[in-house]
Amino acid sequence: MRIFIYKILILTISLFFLYQFTVGYSVYKFQQKIYSNLNKETSENIKSKIREELKAGLKKDKILNNEDSALLRDFFNKIKLEINSSK
């Protein structure tokens, strides 16, 4: 009985460490990345960065090259057509 209890304890602790150093470690690293980077503060910073880039883009004479502008025009026209034709 006594030896059995020790064996169970050692096995449980070994399994715990095995999990923590393999699967647990990867899961934790992932969680850490998500929760440390995607907080409210960071999302606000990303939003303000996008705003700044948009403002900077407006100051330029030309934002898109000819090929991209033609592509976007065709894309928007197609979308517009589909929206208008929907019931």
């Binding site: 006594r2 050692i10 934790y28 929760y35 907080n39 960071t42 910073n45």
Partner: protein
């Protein structure tokens, strides 16, 4: 004669320590949690008095509590954070009310003296633990390490929670070891009392009776204890522990006994703050696993780390030796120890590593360095002393004992030197392994101790101004620093928060809520120049900027 000599040395040590403490206690700043703890004291005193008929006192306490709510509206909501113990805060609130102390400097300084004396008291118990386990010189050296380790020494003047917990834990362990030496009800009851007091201070104190029960169970397994003896002790521990806990802890009076999970849920609540650790900001709930070991490693004197590593190695070696030698043959003691001294060592080893592994693997939310784990100091010191003891045994055959004991003075001299060098910022100590650039990668003044010092410097610089406008570029409750100033000085100060335009001075202790790369709110405007920069060794503690006069 020898016994007299030992007593003289001890009396000299403690009287010097008390004298020194009373001489320097006014140099320390105000801790970041002290205002909340004062509020906690009045909240519970008000509650306790509601069962009595002392109307005058009741009114005085109620008035004080309301005054705290008005003057510090940003403190955490006590109705939610009401699970902190009352053992320190309520008596202090009682003293403040009875003597009608109106000067904030006085009542905060009383807190500082009292926590210092409690820590000093616990250091005597730590000495007793070591003296019974080792010998006088080693025990005395351990006492010096316990009481002079810079971060602990510094915090013993203002940290009313973590140092209180460390002190109560030390006293509880001292009585537990007395029980190991000689089984008696007195030691058991006092152990349960201090375990209960420790638990209400920090929930982690609950481990004391649990580990004690595990130890007696291990002895029962080897037939060292009978079933009746095991269950007898088990029920005694549970009974006295719960009784003492219930008697002094009003938080549990209000709980529903059928919803036990609610008891604990509050203790594991944490804010979602970002913490600077090793150059990166992490969510405090998902800190790197190296967080606690790194903090211990960088903020403990290097010489103690060497002794600790050696001691821990010997402890673990013996533990694994005992573990692999367990057989069907039943030993004299337990399977994991053969004597009372080994049993004590094993208790320390289990305590230290279970908390260390818990902090590493169970996403424990931490902030302010490792102050929530300062209670590990008793185990760290014990293991270091064990390492040192074994080093002495090894060198005893080669070097004369006089030389060895003279060499042992070196760590004490080093500790005293570090304390003098960092005074009054011992709480912000980093060891010599850290360069200036490396220290910048960590948050330093997390207890916001520098607030008072900064305000004093500003007041000296503007003696004739009727009003001084001060802003704060850090994420720290700067305004609370004024409570350790004289009333006439307090009246001169106007705090403008982060409104730098109105300010004459800006204070910065480099604690920010989020990454400085993105958050520009703390950037010092160009019309301010540096007025004071406090740097001790490689540690930059705070800076004050002054508005240029045109």
């Amino acid at each position: 004669m020898i016994k007299d000599k030992k007593i003289y040395i001890l009396v000299l040590f403690f009287s010097t320590y008390i004298f020194l403490g009373l001489f320097i206690y006014q140099d320390f700043g105000i801790g970041i949690e002290e205002h909340f703890q004062r509020k906690n004291g009045f909240y519970w005193l008000d509650y306790l008095l509601s069962f009595s008929d002392y109307h005058v006192l009741k009114e005085a306490v109620n008035l004080k509590y309301k005054e705290i709510l008005l003057s510090n509206p940003n403190l955490p909501n006590i109705v939610f954070f009401n699970y902190y113990g009352i053992i320190f805060d309520v008596p202090i609130a009682f003293i403040e009310s009875i003597f009608n102390l109106e000067n904030s400097k006085t009542y905060f300084e009383i807190r500082h003296i009292l926590i210092f004396l409690i820590f000093l008291f616990s250091s005597f118990f730590f000495y007793k633990i070591l003296f019974k386990r080792f010998n006088f010189p080693i025990a005395f050296l351990g006492l010096c390490i316990y009481s002079l380790t810079p971060r602990i020494f510094g915090d013993s003047f203002h940290n009313n929670k973590d140092i209180l917990f460390l002190s109560l834990l030390t006293i509880a362990i001292s009585y537990l070891f007395n029980f190991f030496d000689k089984t008696n009800n007195k030691s058991l009851i006092i152990f349960c009392l201090f375990s209960a007091l420790a638990t209400s201070t920090r929930i982690m104190g609950i481990y004391l009776p649990i580990l004690f029960i595990l130890f007696i169970y291990l002895e029962f397994l080897t037939n060292k204890r009978s079933l009746i003896n095991f269950f007898g002790l088990f029920f005694k521990i549970i009974f006295f522990y719960l009784i003492f806990l219930y008697l002094h802890y009003p938080y549990i009076w209000q709980l529903n006994i059928f919803e036990i999970s609610d008891w604990f849920s509050k203790f594991f609540f944490s804010m979602n703050l970002n913490i600077l650790f090793n150059g990166h900001y992490y969510s405090m709930n998902y800190l790197p696993r190296s967080y606690l070991p790194t903090w211990i490693f960088i903020s403990t004197p290097f010489i103690l780390l060497i002794f600790f590593i050696f001691g821990a190695f010997l402890f673990l070696k013996r533990f694994f030796y005992r573990l692999v030698n367990i057989s069907n043959h039943k030993p004299h003691g337990s399977d994991l120890w053969v004597s009372n001294n080994e049993k004590k060592d094993m208790f320390i080893l289990f305590s230290f590593f279970s908390f260390l592994l818990y902090a590493i693997f169970f996403n424990v939310a931490m902030l302010s360095g490792w102050r929530h784990f300062y209670f590990l100091h008793i185990f760290l010191t014990y293991i270091s002393v064990f390492g040192l003891f074994n080093l002495i045994i090894y060198f005893k055959k080669k070097i004369s004992m006089k030389i060895i004991y003279s060499l042992l003075m070196l760590p004490i001299i080093l500790l005293i030197y570090e304390n003098v060098k960092f005074h009054p910022y011992q709480s912000l100590y980093f060891n010599n392994l850290m360069s200036k650039e490396q220290i910048k990668r960590f948050q330093v003044d997390t207890p916001s101790l520098s607030r008072v010092d900064a305000l004093k410097s500003i007041l000296i610089d503007s003696p004739n101004k009727k009003k001084i406008f001060i802003a704060n570029s850090s994420w720290t409750p700067f305004i609370n620093g004024k409570d350790l100033l004289a009333p006439e000085s307090k009246k001169k100060l106007v705090f403008t928060g982060q409104d730098f335009k109105k300010a004459d001075y800006i204070y910065d202790n480099f604690i920010y809520k989020s990454d400085e790369k993105y958050n520009k709110s703390h950037m010092i405007p160009s019309d301010f120049t540096i007025f004071k920069k406090l740097e001790i060794k490689n540690v930059h503690i705070y800076s004050i900027y002054k508005k240029n006069i045109r």
